[in-house]
């Protein structure tokens, strides 16, 4: 199941195309089409603006996936983890619930890491500092192309990046107001897009 899809595009002549890619996690839209589609409130906004997926409330109408213009949602068409022993299941999903057959899933912005960071801060009596959260994709990206943070805080790294003139949102005209956004790549021959 791809929670972070890498879209591959080609540019230029067929004989020698230039290869482009764009990474697509869930956009966590402010005006999320998926949320209006769900009849049982299984996908909802959290207080900090995450588009949450409540696995045990999901009944699998797939309306959310049909409505998602980015098609970042993935459905458990069959029971993918039935054959695995419980220990293996836990090993594959150390920090998140094992999704059962017939429920939708998608990128959560690593909500388990956000929760851990919030709990840690609380235990130490500190205010929650979102900049301390590092998402799994951010952690593994060798070129450090992914940033995560609080867009409500004007001084955060993501807020600064969003003020960059290269900043753009995917399918912005739809009015979904995605939280995930991109910086355009500037090249000598012309502009290409990069996640």
């Amino acid at each position: 199941m791809h929670w972070l899809r890498i879209d591959h595009y080609y540019q230029g002549p067929l004989e020698a195309p230039r290869s482009r890619f764009q990474s697509l996690p869930c956009m966590h839209c402010e005006q999320a089409p998926c949320e209006t589609g769900c009849p049982v409130n299984a996908t909802v906004h959290s207080r900090d603006g995450l588009n949450q997926m409540v696995y045990n409330r999901c009944i699998g109408t797939r309306t959310c996936a049909s409505y998602c213009p980015y098609k970042v949602r993935r459905f458990n068409w069959l029971d993918w983890s039935a054959d695995a022993a419980p220990s293996i299941q836990a090993q594959r999903n150390p920090e998140v619930t094992v999704r059962s057959r017939g429920v939708m899933e998608k990128c959560t912005y690593c909500i388990q890491r956000i929760s851990n960071a919030r709990t840690d801060d609380k235990q130490h009596g500190d205010d929650f500092d979102p900049s301390a959260v590092v998402t799994a994709c951010q952690q593994t990206c060798p070129s450090q192309a992914i940033q995560f943070g609080d867009i409500n805080a004007p001084a955060s790294a993501v807020s600064l990046a969003r003020r960059d003139p290269r900043h753009y949102r995917l399918l912005e005209a739809l009015g979904t107001r995605p939280r995930t956004s991109y910086l355009a790549r500037i090249e000598e021959e012309g502009a290409g897009d990069e996640g």
């Binding site: 089409p33 009944i59 309306t63």
Partner: protein
């Protein structure tokens, strides 16, 4: 067809000299002694086989998950939703024939309404099973209903999927009520004519203590009219409900205000087909006359032209909007991988339909049946072309994909005809298929002695 002498210029299309006794004998006779037993057994047998196919497909589906179907990224809604919309469209026609024609007082309706109402009921049941089976976790379907629960959770009322639940439940309730209330006087006659205690008891229960007093008739008349007035807007509520299911999304090609009308129109086909089958099976050719078939043919033609208007508007709108992706989706519909569905819909729903301009096609049962079958197939193709190609051409090119229905998609669809046929065959044996008292009333009124 040697039925020429039956073509009468009366409002009810029945022979002028048809006596009350003949009407009763033709309708209540089959309840005791069915005329075409062999044919009926074939119909019932085929229905049973199909029902078994359906149950088998449901078992496979529930045992393994929706992955048994052809749906996948990016086509999340395939045959399940398609067949749901198809069966509902069929149901709408029955409501129209019986409720609308009742309100505008067309006496020829009385020989067709019962078979149309029974058809609606079965079609709505066939349709209503689909959204449930279509769920990833079908056993939790009741979560879309507002019921008291310990979590204090409500359905999400902004979702068209939740509206569907309300729409279908109301439609089913009103269809059952309309059918049952409408048939009370006939059930009472069946009760009075019943030859066995069991039949007496069952028909007696269905007749709800009907004695035919003036008060009963007055109440009955009021109730059926109220139900008819409720039923007609409900048809549009239901068809708007599932059209919103498509329009509320971001998908191009689904933003059409025509969809509700689209899905209602053109579904008269199954009424025509059933009228032909029922009149032959019950030998009631003098009650459902070629004039009735003629009228159904005309209705089919008229609603067919409404559908044609829909197609034309759908072809025009993307270009009028100038939206590149809308045009892209339209081109995928008419020339993409599944362009066959668009052209099949055009051939069946526009092309073949034009045969109905000729009276000898409308009044000939086999020819009308062929046209009706073509339209039923065309309606299926239409749903396919409306639903599938837009999903295959998503907004982001990277999400483009294909869709092929799997074996289990087909078996469930074909099997759903068993869900329709088995109860319908039983109705043929045990329910008066023509509204006898209304026919008699129409006959009397026409003669001026009623």
């Amino acid at each position: 067809m040697k039925a020429e002498p039956l073509l009468h210029a009366t409002g009810h299309f029945l022979p002028k000299d048809l006596s009350d006794h003949q009407v009763s004998r033709q309708v209540f006779g089959p309840l005791q002694q069915f005329p075409r037993r062999v044919a009926w057994r074939w119909m019932f047998g085929v229905g049973l086989v199909l029902l078994l196919v359906y149950l088998g497909s449901v078992a496979v589906l529930l045992g393994n998950g929706v992955g048994m179907w052809g749906n996948n990224q990016p086509v999340h809604w395939g045959f399940g939703i398609l067949n749901y919309i198809w069966w509902l469209g069929i149901g709408h026609a029955g409501t129209f024939i019986s409720a609308l024609l009742l309100l505008i007082e067309r006496p020829w309706r009385h020989t067709l309404n019962r078979l149309a109402e029974l058809m609606t009921l079965m079609a709505v049941i066939c349709a209503a099973l689909y959204p449930i089976l279509h769920l990833g976790r079908p056993w939790l379907f009741y979560w879309t209903m507002p019921y008291p629960n310990e979590m204090g959770l409500w359905p999400q009322f902004k979702s068209p999927t939740a509206w569907d639940m309300f729409a279908i439940l109301s439609y089913l309730t009103v269809s059952v009520l309309f059918l049952m209330v409408g048939a009370i006087p006939d059930f009472a006659t069946a009760r009075d004519r019943a030859s066995t205690p069991l039949r007496q008891a069952v028909y007696g229960l269905l007749a709800l203590g009907w004695r035919g007093s003036q008060r009963h008739w007055a109440l009955w008349r009021r109730t059926t009219r109220v139900l008819a007035i409720l039923a007609i807007p409900l048809v549009f509520a239901v068809s708007s409900g599932y059209s919103f299911l498509l329009t509320m999304g971001t998908q191009s090609g689904w933003h059409s205000t025509l969809f509700p009308a689209y899905f209602v129109a053109g579904a008269v086909a199954l009424v025509a087909l059933l009228a032909i089958v029922v009149r032959w099976l019950l030998c009631i050719q003098s009650l459902i006359t070629p004039r009735h078939l003629d009228m159904l043919g005309r209705l089919l033609l008229a609603t067919g032209w409404m559908t044609t208007y829909g197609y034309l508007a759908d072809l025009f709108m993307p270009f009028y909007s100038g939206d590149a992706h809308e045009i892209e989706v339209l081109l995928a519909r008419i020339s993409g991988a599944h362009a066959w569905s668009f052209w099949l819909a055009i051939v069946c729903n526009v092309g073949v339909l034009q045969a109905l301009w000729w009276r000898n096609v409308r009044q000939s049962p086999p020819r009308l049946a062929l046209v009706a079958l073509a339209v039923l197939m065309g309606m299926c193709a239409e749903r396919f072309m409306l639903l599938i190609p837009p999903q295959m051409r998503d907004l982001l090119v990277s999400s483009w994909g294909d869709y092929t229905p799997s074996l289990w998609d087909w078996t469930l669809f074909i099997g759903s005809f068993g869900v329709f046929l088995v109860p319908y065959s039983l109705f043929l044996r045990y329910v008066p298929m023509v509204s006898v008292f209304e026919v008699k009333q129409a006959l009397h009124q026409e003669r001026g002695d009623g």
